[in-house]
């Protein structure tokens, strides 16, 4: 097992990894930008080192700084968290060259899962249904139009190197499609330095269901069940839960098998997530692979009792999965508290948090880097905290989470806590009717 791990991230996930290290008796090393000098992750870690100025490209995204810090601190492994360098194949291979263990999949698996068009092909070849669309990159508009005739509108133009809704365009007719192609391509070029785009049929009222995967280096691979993440804003998840009320036993096992096939198809190792769309007529389609720990991983931990970050570290150190299946119990829901103003289309609301109150008590878990007096920097993602509720059943989890979110109080910055509470208390949510349009009833300006 590793003795020293460097955490190449910040915010709540850095704190999460530091806690896992402390639990395992591993020395945690935090890296921080000069904007994060007072941050919780820099304070909680056993050691911490300043790696650059506030701009992420010169600090948390700057490989030489991270690698140099790891070498200086004699770190045996690097945990990348999510975002930043977590899904960067180049970074994973640099770690390998420097004999630093990258806690995540291999560079090859990362390269494949990152190339969404190529990944679609592989997974499709493995017999997993993918959303009808192009086989790989589309460059010629005429090919696009021909394809459109086959599978029909509306169509989504997506960046192959994309994510988080960037480089994504919806088209309802030929003209729109032509524009969408060029716009998405140039947007992708500037955002990811790769203008490759592909086509997918846009599925109306589809639910977003993902499966958590764990795979070790000894050929063992298991799934820890699904998470439903249909409540999103600006293509980013806001509320996640497990199990999904939408799945029957048989549908769940079908999708789980497909998820395992998809993971094997790209020789995946460590923790990862297979994302599906589920249509109203119970057809499910693979959309993409998330080759990292997910923001919403705690809901799976709450119902399985398995600590996914500790498992990531164990797997990376070469240990074998100690179990071949898990039996989830109860229900868990997570709400993301962003420093954003729901009244202003979720515009970031950075600034100084004066007094603050975090909820607690039975069944409530809070993962956060927040503390009274913390200043939310304007340079990074605005996720402030994750509030997770566990209950014997969905109803208990809902009422616990709503109560906790109503308790959540920060002064100085606006957050999404209240709007999440209102959504969760709504009849539609209680009924489990989690269409993508649900959020619009609560934040009309959010689209």
């Amino acid at each position: 097992m590793f003795r020293r791990i460097l955490i190449a991230n910040r915010g709540e996930i850095a704190v999460r990894v530091i806690r896992a290290c402390r639990e395992m008796g591993i020395t945690s090393i935090a890296v921080y930008s000069s904007a994060d000098q007072e941050s919780l992750h820099a304070s909680l870690a056993d050691e911490s080192i300043c790696i650059g100025p506030p701009s992420a490209s010169e600090s948390y995204l700057h490989m030489p700084a991270i690698i140099a810090a790891a070498e200086i601190c004699d770190a045996q492994a690097i945990h990348p968290g999510y975002g930043f360098l977590s899904e960067n194949p180049k970074f994973a291979s640099v770690c390998r060259e420097c004999n630093i263990n990258f806690i995540g999949p291999t560079p090859e698996a990362l390269a494949l899962s990152g190339d969404k068009a190529a990944c679609r092909k592989k997974v499709k070849a493995a017999g997993v249904p993918v959303v009808p669309g192009s086989d790989g990159i589309v460059t010629d508009p005429d090919d696009a139009l021909k394809l459109a005739k086959e599978i029909g509108f509306p169509l989504l133009v997506k960046a192959s190197a994309g994510g988080g809704g960037k480089g994504m365009r919806l088209a309802h007719n030929d003209v729109a499609l032509k524009n969408a192609l060029s716009m998405a391509s140039s947007e992708a070029q500037s955002a990811f330095g790769d203008g490759g785009v592909y086509l997918e049929k846009f599925l109306e009222n589809a639910r977003h269901i993902e499966f958590q995967i764990l795979a070790d280096h000894h050929g063992h691979i298991i799934t820890l069940g699904e998470r439903e993440c249909s409540i999103q804003r600006r293509h980013q998840k806001l509320i996640e839960e497990t199990p999904s009320v939408r799945l029957t036993y048989s549908l769940r096992s079908k999708m789980a098998k497909a998820a395992l096939r998809a993971a094997r198809a790209i020789n995946y190792t460590n923790a990862g997530t297979v994302e599906f769309l589920l249509t109203p007529d119970n057809q499910f389609y693979f959309i993409e692979f998330n080759a990292r720990i997910q923001v919403e991983h705690p809901v799976t931990e709450e119902v399985t009792g398995i600590d996914l970050v500790k498992e990531q570290i164990r797997i990376a150190s070469g240990e074998a999965l100690g179990y071949s299946s898990v039996a989830p119990t109860g229900h868990a829901i997570e709400a993301r508290v962003y420093a954003e103003d729901p009244e202003a289309n979720f515009a970031p609301s950075p600034g100084n948090v004066g007094q603050c109150h975090l909820p607690g008590g039975p069944g409530i878990r809070v993962d956060t880097h927040l503390f009274a007096g913390y200043t939310v920097p304007r340079y990074y993602d605005s996720l402030l905290a994750k509030v997770i509720a566990r209950g014997r059943n969905r109803e208990e989890a809902i009422h616990r989470l709503a109560g906790a979110l109503e308790e959540f109080a920060t002064e100085g910055v606006k957050t999404t806590a209240r709007v999440c509470a209102r959504i969760i208390r709504s009849d539609r949510f209680l009924r489990g009717d989690l269409g993508p349009d649900l959020i619009e009833q609560f934040v009309p300006k959010s689209r």
């Binding site: 000098q37 030489p64 690698i67």
Partner: protein, 163 residues
């Protein structure tokens, strides 16, 4: 009240566990207040307020406008401002272009704007650290081969006024 007396008072105050001290004398009063203490997580210390607000701070009012309300007065003689060349990145510092060769600079040397003063190695890349303005190297703060953080002071320098 004369300053020696004041300094003595501050010394005593700082030695004590008190957070605040108030003194009244012939209709004149002053309050000394220590900054919010730091708190300890698992043994290590975290400043709970901006670094620049650390240190004993005192507010003395001879009259309403005499001193800006927050003006800090340090116990020791106000040290002259130290100017340094700081590390532009995290890495390992080397004082010479390559092993065996003489160092880029010695204390006392005068360097021009843009002149290399040392190297910081990060991920096998040698990055020259250069002077931003003409100055005299007063003191080297980091030994050869030592690791440095971003923003860590490397040399104390004295700028040379242009005429």
């Amino acid at each position: 009240m004369d300053l020696d007396k004041l300094q003595e008072l501050i010394r005593i105050f700082e030695a004590s566990d008190l957070s605040e001290i108030e003194i009244e004398e012939s209709g004149r009063r002053m309050r000394l207040k220590k900054p919010r203490p730091v708190m300890s997580y698992a043994g290590q210390m975290i400043p709970m307020q901006p670094a620049d607000a650390r240190g004993t701070q005192m507010v003395l009012h001879e009259s309403v406008t005499a001193v800006p309300a927050s003006a800090p007065v340090r116990a020791e003689k106000e040290p002259e401002k130290v100017i340094t060349i700081d590390s532009p990145m995290v890495g390992v510092l080397y004082v010479a272009p390559s092993p065996g060769e003489p160092p880029f600079v010695h204390p006392g040397d005068t360097v021009d704007e843009g002149q290399a003063v040392c190297i910081v190695e990060a991920m096998k890349l040698m990055n020259e650290v250069t002077a931003k303005y003409p100055c005299v190297i007063v003191k080297a703060l980091v030994e050869n081969g030592e690791p440095v953080e971003f923003g860590q002071p490397l040399f104390v320098v004295r700028p040379i006024e242009q005429v």
